[in-house]
């Protein structure tokens, strides 16, 4: 079973470069020679255009459109439903997950969470106490992050593109300084 599984995975890997996922442009964007805003533009792809999604590098994704290949911002493309793998999330993992036998078991005893159940829910003090037990302190979380090589970065909050006045977060439009020097 496991062997068969690995075989499938391997086949997916081999197939990936040839069998590209398809995507749709969700906004106009400049196609560039490299995964960088500073690289030369090779053409513009319009919102709604259908593209082949080839690979990803940081915030950029390589696409093929109308015979040309180039890089656009990853948020400019949405992978199509029938692409068979989510390039944004990684084709390999998704392929593996789809064939995870534990998922089949889970389906057998499906447990939802609908409005009715939520409305009828009764306070559970024991579970709340358990929840408390697992909480992580600042020191613990910082230690975890350090062990994982995670470092805080300064990134400002992002406002809505339109109607900025209405939905601007109150008082916290700049994130500079947050989390700085935690490590």
């Amino acid at each position: 079973m496991k062997l068969y599984f690995s075989g499938l995975l391997f086949a997916c890997l081999l197939a990936a470069p040839v069998w590209a996922a398809t995507g749709t442009m969700i906004k106009d964007d400049e196609m560039r020679t490299n995964a960088s805003a500073n690289s030369a533009a090779v053409g513009r792809v319009a919102k709604g255009a259908s593209v082949d999604v080839l690979t990803r590098k940081g915030g950029w994704t390589q696409i093929r459109h109308a015979g040309a290949t180039g890089w656009v911002r990853i948020l400019s493309v949405r992978s199509s439903a029938e692409s068979g793998g989510n390039v944004l999330g990684g084709i390999v993992q998704m392929g593996a997950e789809r064939r995870d036998p534990s998922r089949v078991v889970a389906v057998a005893g499906l447990r939802g969470l609908n409005e009715e159940e939520l409305r009828g829910a009764r306070f559970n003090a024991n579970e709340l106490a358990r929840l408390d037990q697992f909480s992580s302190s600042r020191v613990d979380a910082e230690q975890f992050a350090r062990g994982a090589g995670l470092r805080s970065r300064d990134v400002a909050y992002i406002n809505a593109a339109r109607r900025e006045q209405e939905s601007r977060p109150s008082g916290n439009s700049s994130g500079i300084g947050f989390g700085d020097g935690n490590l």
Binding site: A37, L118, I158
Partner: protein, 299 residues
């Protein structure tokens, strides 16, 4: 299609506003009746409805009416909602998982303007795809959603979105706007004795409040915060959009997403909004970690 949806949302908003106004006047009416003794005409001071015996409850009511809920009160409200939600769906019996999710979530929370809140994170028993936030820093995601995640960055992104709701007090504002005022009318009528009763009245039935949709802009805002917090924490900033894209591929008729799709704009719309808002703003951001190797796999 899109405009129909918008009208629907607009309609819902206006209804709740009307209800809120009605309830507010109802409440004020009740307050007057209660405070003004029939014999003498005294000026009514709505800021001080307190009878000495009902102090904590009255304080909470006052705070909610005035829109300035203290940290302590916010946490109490969150606790009540969290306890109710856990009554509907208990924590997954996997201590390792719960501890892991708390560490990732806590690290993300440290990148915010509320680093010292007592943040709690939990994975709950449900095959639905959903995540919930309650005031005071209570965050939950379902086992179904956890299973969909590919790496730690995606987990951080999902938690970051929920953290965003807590930071901007979206649910607290929702309670204050509609249900809160409805509750106040009921409270004065029935003379609730203790704070717990007041709280439960405020929250409504069970954990129903988490199934109540926020307005679209609140969801878009939480998406933007999720992306930014992931980036601040050193993760791949594009992991949350990846989760959204993945959820967007689930058929709209699938039961596992019925509540999520009912209370949130469709992932396609969310991705579109996020894309427009982010634009070139993250171009200079160095690549973050996916944390795929560390990701805790469900047993």
């Amino acid at each position: 299609m899109k405009s129909r949806y918008l009208w629907l949302v607009a309609g819902m908003l206006s209804i709740s506003q009307v209800q809120a106004n009605e309830l507010e006047s109802l409440f004020k009416g009740l307050l007057k009746k209660k405070l003004a003794p029939p014999a003498q005409e005294q000026p009514v001071n709505p800021a001080q409805p307190a009878a000495a015996a009902e102090k904590p409850a009255d304080q909470l009511l006052k705070a909610l009416m005035g829109g300035n809920v203290s940290l302590e009160e916010e946490v109490r409200i969150g606790q009540q909602i969290a306890g109710n939600l856990l009554g509907a769906a208990p924590l997954v019996r996997d201590d390792g998982l719960q501890r892991y999710v708390n560490r990732v979530g806590r690290w993300v929370s440290l990148q915010t303007e509320r680093p010292d809140l007592a943040w709690h994170f939990g994975v709950i028993e449900s095959d639905d795809l959903n995540a919930f936030a309650a005031p005071g820093g209570y965050i939950f995601l379902t086992k179904g959603l956890y299973r969909k995640l590919n790496n730690e960055a995606e987990l951080a992104g999902v938690l970051g979105h929920e953290i965003g709701h807590v930071l901007r007090k979206h649910h607290l504002k929702l309670l204050q706007k509609s249900q809160g005022i409805a509750a106040l009318g009921g409270i004065l009528g029935r003379k609730l004795k203790n704070e717990n009763e007041v709280l439960q009245n405020l929250i409504g039935n069970g954990a129903e409040v988490v199934a109540r949709g926020l307005d679209k802009d609140a969801e878009y805002e939480a998406d933007r915060i999720g992306v930014v917090l992931s980036a601040r924490a050193g993760y791949d900033a594009y992991a949350l959009p990846a989760v959204l894209a993945e959820i967007g591929h689930v058929a709209k008729t699938d039961k596992s997403v019925s509540l999520l799709f009912k209370t949130h704009p469709h992932p396609e719309e969310r991705l579109g909004q996020l894309s427009e808002a982010v634009g070139e703003k993250l171009d200079a951001l160095p690549e973050g970690q996916s944390g795929a190797g560390r990701f805790y796999r469900l047993r």
